[in-house]
């Protein structure tokens, strides 16, 4: 057994433990919403720690039932015909033509049904629009006493895209909506790339498009998806055009600084990829260089980010607990997060290496929010910041249909 293989095994074990911890806290907070806050919160209180939460029974049951099904499948306890049927799904490969038609059939009704949202006045929808307008006045390098506006202007790419939407279409929502459609498409290509299965790509696109959180914010200019788009694109480019992957990652950070904290996720993803060692090294160095450039830009522009740092470890656990309420309407994700995590762990143990970084992307993107809350009381995790988690969850579902051989090592 090679040293690299042993290292990967240890890392897979660590990522699996970490992921089960993250998922465990979320499920625990769904069952007992007051448990963590009553013990780790800032407020002295008389909360009943073990009060059972709304939806807890349904979500817990669905997780356990699907999990039992997964275990039964892997232990060959399912009826033979059902087992055969499930095993045959990943082998189905759709033609390019059919895939194109299916993607078109998914995107067309989505677009038609969503277009009316573009005519809702952003100012009446999101109070943050006022901040954007104030920031636009002084963009890119003007000064103001308005800290929130300064923070908006540190997100150069986002400001450029939103201003472009306003200037070109006289509607701030149009380019963000195009960004959301692009995210669906990139999710398809990314899943297809790592699974070598177009059907898997379609499944992940469908999982993303049914998400409450994705649909809620897909046309919001203030809660746009550009940052997710650029980040997922950077992962896809690792396989397709690794030389420019770090540029897409940098664009993501310059759209929303939150993705800066995704760097370990990208590095793990590169590490587990089947690229040549030299390519992996190039990718990691290029990420490092991009990171350095962004930090330099922020320091030259006297960025707001260096003024709002703190360290409060307790926030990690309370933020994870809060996640369960923030994605409360994403029932599909909540109902499957535990069985999916365990299935990915099994797949990884069976040698499908890509399962590990995908699991890390799902749980790491959740944990990143908690890290941000630990490091800053200025930024909190808002529901739309779980769009990357939902994308990776969708990709994770797609990975179950991977055509890549397990035991690929």
């Amino acid at each position: 057994m090679s040293i690299t293989f042993q290292r990967k095994n240890i890392l897979t074990y660590l990522i699996s433990t970490f992921s089960l911890f993250v998922v465990g806290i979320i499920l625990l907070s769904i069952v007992f919403p007051a448990l963590i806050i009553s013990n780790f919160g800032i407020h002295s209180n008389n909360l009943e720690s073990f009060e059972v939460g709304n939806n807890s029974l349904a979500i817990l049951l669905s997780n356990l039932l699907v999990l039992a099904f997964v275990i039964a499948y892997y232990k060959n306890k399912l009826p033979l015909q059902l087992h055969k049927l499930i095993s045959s799904i990943p082998k189905k490969q759709l033609s390019k033509k059919i895939t194109l038609i299916v993607i078109f059939l998914i995107l067309l009704p989505y677009t038609i049904l969503t277009v009316p949202e573009l005519f809702i006045d952003e100012a009446s929808q999101a109070p943050d629009y006022e901040i954007f307008l104030a920031a636009k006045e002084i963009f890119p390098f003007g000064k103001t006493t308005f800290t929130e506006a300064t923070e908006q202007n540190d997100r150069y790419v986002r400001m450029i895209l939103l201003i472009a939407s306003l200037e070109i279409f006289q509607n701030v929502k149009i380019i963000p909506f195009i960004g959301s459609i692009a995210l669906l498409i990139v999710t398809y290509f990314f899943t297809n790339e790592i699974t070598k299965n177009r059907f898997a790509g379609i499944v992940s696109t469908l999982v993303l498009i049914q998400s409450y959180t994705f649909l809620k914010y897909d046309t919001f200019a203030m809660y746009e998806n550009f940052w997710v788009l650029f980040y997922v694109l950077s992962l896809y480019l690792i396989f397709k055009k690794f030389q420019i992957s770090s540029i897409s990652y940098a664009l993501s950070i310059l759209t929303k600084a939150f993705t800066a904290i995704f760097l370990p996720l990208s590095i793990i993803f590169v590490y587990y990829s089947n690229l040549a060692t030299k390519t992996k090294l190039f990718l990691i160095i290029s990420y490092g260089i991009m990171f350095g450039i962004i930090i330099t830009i922020w320091s030259i522009d006297t960025s707001v980010y260096d003024n709002i740092l703190r360290f409060d470890l307790q926030q990690i656990i309370t933020a994870l607990s809060k996640t369960s309420y923030q994605i409360r309407f994403d029932l599909f994700l909540l109902a499957l997060i535990l069985p999916l995590s365990i299935t990915l762990i099994i797949k990884a143990r069976n040698g499908l290496h890509i399962a590990t970084p995908i699991l890390f992307l799902i749980t790491g993107s959740i944990f990143s929010g908690a890290v941000v809350e630990m490091l800053s009381d200025h930024f909190v995790i808002l529901p739309y910041r779980f769009v990357p988690t939902i994308v990776f969850f969708a990709v994770g579902i797609g990975v179950l249909f991977s055509n890549k051989m397990e035991h690929e090592s």
Binding site: S29, P33, A34, I37, S38, G41, I42, H43, S44, N45, L47, E51, V52, G53, N54, I120, Q125, A126, P127, E130, L133, E137, I138, F141, G142, K143, T144, T145, K216, Y217, F220, Y223, T318, K322, S324, Y325, Q326, R328, F329, D377, V380, I381, L382, P383, Y384
Partner: protein, 337 residues
Amino acid sequence: MKFTINYQSLFSGIFVISIIFLIFGSASATEQNNDELIKSAMNFLKTDQIDKAIPILEKVLKTEPNNLNVLKNLAVAYTNSKMCHDSIQIYDKILELKPNSPEILYGKAICYNDLGLPEKSLLTLDKIDKKYSSNDSILLTKGSSHMILGDYIEAKKYYQTVLEKNPDNELVNINMLILSYHLKNHNLSEKYLVKILGDNPKGTSYCDASGCMGKVPFLFPIEDSENYQITAQIQVRTESNQLIGIIETEKITYTPHPIFQQILLGYDVVETIQNDLGTFEVKRIIGKTEPHINSYFMDRVELFYDDYTVLFGYNLAIPLESGDYIITEWTIQKKIQ
């Protein structure tokens, strides 16, 4: 032939006269037309219909590019419409026609501040003749430039110079209030809140994150207060009383206006605590509300007094659906020693 030449001369004469008539006639008509346009633009400006006045003034400028009155009014209209990039171009044109005009330099400096370019604003103000240097508006603008630069002490000097001459200058009092926010000096905030709003503030229909007192900032971060520590805990429940989640926030703004102390008098002290920061009496305010379901997520809780907010908790971020309600518990620790 002779007839033909005479006929040609006559025809040419008529043609020339017609052209002359047309040119002068149309010039006179344009002038008359412009006067009417300017008049209507001014009427729009008087009634705050800036968006209607701007295209008219722009139209007049096409035929009278050096009309100072139109240029000035258009520049001000642009400024008021948050189009300072355009204003500055017009101001520069006026300065070519009327170099060092103090009012134009002043207008340009205001715009630079609006564009977040306080250094340029200060440089522009320095070009104004020294005899105007003690003018209130210029001092106020210089103060604002320094405030944007984060040089609060210098800003305070300019504001205080104005207040020494004119203690009731409302704009400067509001700027002093904003300055107290940046200086994190809530005693100063209290002084200016009372000065501007009196002892019994009345809310307006215009509200933003800083409160419901029109353009007067009313709510200040509790973390900057020396006298109070406040946290809020929010239970989110369904229509059928099932628990969805519990969130807490320390990101709270309150009003340093004395009205807040009066409101607290209506609540009992639940305990007294002592720590490194001093002795505090603790009060709790608990309220059940059905929050407005907006299109994004619940991001705030508020404690109202009359028709305005006195406590505002934010950074919450929980999606709600119709029927959900919240129980908010504010814990207020007031320093007594």
